[in-house]
Symmetry: C2
Subunit: 228 residues, 2 copies
DNA sequence: GCCCCAAGAATATGATCAAATTATCCAGAG
DNA sequence: CTCTGGATAATTTGATCATATTCTTGGGGC
């Protein structure tokens, strides 16, 4: 009678069957994650209904979800905007990301197959190409993809969900940094992670992930000082 | 208990200023947190519009936020229900809570004043009374209050927001355990936390918080085996 | 410089359409 | 004759839109 555990994760996959509010949410999510919106930028409902060709109800629901995610902030006076991070926010994000994403990496280590590692390797190669060609959008996309693909093998839905939300908080700010300094200055810490995965050394993977996260947050705080 | 992205401010006013969707969200949030909904129970929009005397749009927005919080789950077929936790979910929640709430306790230690400690002491006394009288609702409320009041002094909005959301995930399941076994079996670990705060020993506070969290999650997993 | 008014945007309701679950009924087998 | 199974109808619920209302805000008048 009771169907077993149903995973509600399936969101953007099927496409045509997805409700409008889900589509709008995924669209805005990607746009925020990859920096199509600048920190501090105002987000209006009616502006989105026009550009996305949907009614205001789906837009409202998507915005509520994003506010709850921390991807947008509700500014009291019915205004919604992209958050501007302060130094202590970044510090907290750094701690949260390190503890959560290190644990995910730890759990993923024992579960990834060699095919999975090859896939991650391919993503990292694409990331290298994006860096060398100065493709900021590609860098952000592949970097995010590397993490999400790795996390998908950790069999840790709660932790993965937490990590995903944290990314939404610093996405816009990270984009600002990349746009300002380019992609050249980013050393690729993913190599160490891949090496740890090949060795099946979970503690080493956690350590490498911690360094990657620390470096990413360092970049974000770098852009903060310039006053976005 | 003040996530950065919630109510503008003003808890003093008689309240006509709060939007309906915010009121609905807070109401449902408390009901979920204190176990008015059972794990697995279906939550319908139209059922809520009737019981709360509001239109469906505010209810929809509140439900979207709660889904994003992890307090409700969206099952593929447009249905929304209270989540049923499995063993691995509880394990992940335990890890996340320990790392996050320990850090919050660590940060709060250097910031709490003696008056704050007295307030926490008073809450803990009320919690003791609730335990001795078998007042399950009071136990849940005071226990939650102890943590949120402590966290409010940590000056860590991001981490506090994360912790708040984690509580929403196991609230219903915790209530089931309390209803089944009563309140007698719960040793009060808050005494150690208070002692660490008085000594201004942040590491000790983090340690005590870790034990408190571990014990709480142990209780939740206890109720799991009985098959809720 | 202050106050009032208008414009625009967000909030909230109800109606309408679509989808899914539930209930009912009929047919066939035992 | 009864029970089981499947298919269809009916009801319940969710999704979307159009519209009215309320609130914020910015500008013009005094």
């Amino acid at each position: 009678m009771r169907p077993p555990n149903s995973q509600p994760s399936e969101a953007s996959g099927s496409g045509a069957k997805a409700p409008a509010h889900e589509t709008v949410y995924q669209t805005l999510r990607k746009q925020i994650l990859f920096g199509d919106f600048a920190p501090g930028q105002a987000v209006t409902i009616q502006g989105l209904t026009g550009s996305l060709n949907v009614g205001m109800t789906p837009v409202r629901e998507a915005i509520r979800r994003l506010i709850s995610d921390g991807a947008l902030v509700f500014q009291g006076n019915r205004r919604v905007s992209v958050p501007i991070l302060c130094a202590s926010d970044i510090d907290e994000l750094k701690y949260a990301r390190k503890t959560i994403e290190c644990e995910i990496a730890r759990r993923a280590t024992s579960r990834v197959s060699s095919e999975d590692i090859l896939e991650l390797q391919a993503i990292d190669d694409a990331l290298d190409r994006a860096i060398s060609t100065g493709d900021v959008a590609g860098y952000l996309a592949q970097n995010y993809r590397f993490h999400t693909v790795l996390y998908s093998h950790a069999d840790a839905p709660v932790l993965t969900d937490l990590a995903d939300r944290l990314w939404l908080r610093f996405g816009p700010s990270l984009r600002v940094v990349c746009g300002r300094f380019g992609t050249q200055s980013f050393p690729d810490r993913h190599k160490d992670i891949l090496e740890a995965l090949r060795k099946a050394d979970s503690e080493l993977a956690a350590l490498a992930m911690g360094r990657d996260v620390a470096q990413g947050m360092e970049q974000v705080s770098l852009g903060l000082d310039e006053g976005n």
